[in-house]
């Protein structure tokens, strides 16, 4: 079984710490993640907002390249790319005429053999993750799934479209306490980060407010767009809300990396706009992993 890796454009730029932490975690777990050769952008929101054929052709070229390279499945950590690739695979396997049309556009016969995996599915498939935890991530966390990781549920067939549980289960495994909260799958404003920053500040502000009100010490995300809006756009969120909001936003791979005992710098925690400090502790993230290291999980040796 060969698992390929589709980083997507964000993970090479504004979300490079997601990629850094994922690769550090994969190395610590002994997993190889070869990139899809010569991958292109999936087209994101822009393509499907402007042209349907283009929005199918761009992901189809990526998946066809993965197939050609003998990949049985592809890990797509960006929730937005995951959505585009999954929807494309679904639509093309549903409709033979469309599959042929798009195959013609990309000059390759797309078969649909490579499965698309999101980050939660990939991490959940790792056996005995609990036993590999060296420093439990003992924090109260708000697991933020966003929209595209879970919807449309009929196509993704992954988790519930509202009130999903898979990320919460994963965070429990690494020693965290996932909280019950109301904004798990509310939209952060996604692709409006630049063109309508005002709307992003409004929607993302509501999400952070609820996480803070429930007593979360960190928001855990699995999408570069969600991170961009909740972290990089914090100054705009704070300006609109008229108050300071200190809660850090951490990629799931960073939280797992800390729990596996990987140095914060290797996980790219220094690249965030909002400093990764936890509400109860004034110490930096470096000390967090160590200070909670004394607690052991039942499965830990």
């Amino acid at each position: 079984m060969k698992t390929g890796f589709y980083p997507g454009c964000s993970m090479k730029g504004s979300a490079r710490e997601y990629s850094e932490s994922l690769l550090a975690v994969a190395a610590a777990l002994g997993r190889e993640l070869p990139e899809i050769p010569d991958w292109n952008c999936c087209g994101a929101t822009a393509a499907h907002n402007l042209n349907q054929d283009l929005s199918l052709a761009l992901p189809a070229r990526i998946l066809a390249a993965a197939e050609k390279d003998g990949m049985d499945e592809v890990l797509v950590p960006c929730a937005a790319c995951y959505s585009r690739l999954s929807v494309t695979r679904y639509e093309l396997l549903q409709d033979e005429d469309l599959r042929q049309k798009i195959s013609g556009l990309i000059e390759t016969n797309y078969r649909g053999s490579a499965k698309v995996l999101n980050i939660i599915e990939w991490l959940t498939s790792i056996p005995d993750l609990e036993t590999k935890i060296k420093a439990p991530f003992a924090r109260r966390v708000a697991c933020y799934y966003g929209c595209l990781l879970v919807r449309p549920a009929g196509i993704l067939k992954f988790d519930r479209p509202e009130e999903p549980q898979s990320m919460d289960q994963l965070l429990k495994k690494i020693g965290a306490t996932p909280l019950d909260w109301a904004f798990k799958t509310e939209c952060c404003g996604a692709g409006f980060s630049v063109s309508r920053t005002d709307l992003v500040a409004k929607l993302s502000g509501l999400i952070l407010d609820d996480a803070v009100a429930r007593g979360a010490e960190a928001v855990i995300v699995a999408c570069p767009m969600c991170h961009l809006n909740l972290d990089l756009r914090r100054p705009q969120i704070e300006k609109r809300a008229g108050k300071k909001i200190n809660i850090p936003v951490i990629y799931i791979t960073q939280a797992l990396g800390l729990a596996l005992g990987i140095a914060p710098k290797k996980l790219g925690l220094q690249r965030h706009t909002v400093a990764v400090k936890f509400s109860q502790s004034t110490e930096g993230a470096a000390n967090v992993a160590q200070s909670s290291g004394s607690k052991t999980l039942p499965g830990e040796k």
């Binding site: 292109n40 402007l50 070229r61 509202e162 063109s195 706009t273």
Partner: protein, 194 residues
């Protein structure tokens, strides 16, 4: 208003056009309003999603279809898919929105308030078209030129650069010529100009 509301259609309505292209049938909507209740941006829209459905359902009044095509709503839709998840009739409203955006562009009826949103999408696709991947720095410069928002985010860019998040040069893929052909076959060059 006309009195003969049950006329035979001699021309294709927008609802027919959407049905043909996406197999989304607006006639199935029973106006329960759950989509509008769940939509995170319903308050910012000129018509909440259920009203867009209603505008299309009134097939005998092309002026209503026109209002839907010229609405701000279709561009504000974030495709968060919550409406589709909650719709008791399982109508794929996000797909309908995609089709309406495409029609609105093709018929040159885009809402002037959506100018920045469309400029951003176009700047994004331009970057992908020529390099194969999104080059964030290039896209932002392209967007600034298109939208004339030259000063926006100027203070945040240096911070991003020093955190290693902003690259000065694009990554170019080898399959650029194929990508160029894919773009040429799908997006008409005129459609991609502002």
């Amino acid at each position: 208003m006309r009195s003969d509301t049950h006329v035979q259609h001699d021309r294709q309505t927008l609802a027919d056009c959407v049905l043909e292209k996406t197999s989304v049938d607006v006639a199935r909507c029973n106006q329960c309003g759950k989509c509008s209740a769940g939509c995170p941006l319903a308050n910012d829209m000129d018509f909440p999603p259920s009203q867009i459905m209603h505008l299309l359902q009134l097939r005998d009044f092309p002026e209503f279809a026109e209002m839907a095509l010229r609405s701000h709503t279709i561009w504000l839709c974030l495709t968060c898919e919550i409406c589709y998840a909650r719709c008791p009739m399982e109508i794929d409203i996000p797909k309908l929105m995609d089709a309406l955006r495409a029609e609105s562009l093709a018929r040159k009826k885009t809402n002037p308030k959506a100018k920045d949103i469309i400029a951003f999408h176009r700047a994004f696709l331009d970057s992908v078209r020529y390099t194969g991947r999104l080059f964030e720095m290039g896209q932002i410069v392209d967007y600034k030129i298109r939208s004339r928002h030259f000063l926006q985010d100027l203070l945040q860019a240096p911070a991003m650069f020093f955190k290693g998040k902003l690259h000065l040069f694009p990554e170019r893929i080898r399959g650029r010529s194929l990508l160029g052909r894919i773009f040429a076959r799908t997006l008409k060059s005129k459609e991609n100009r502002q």
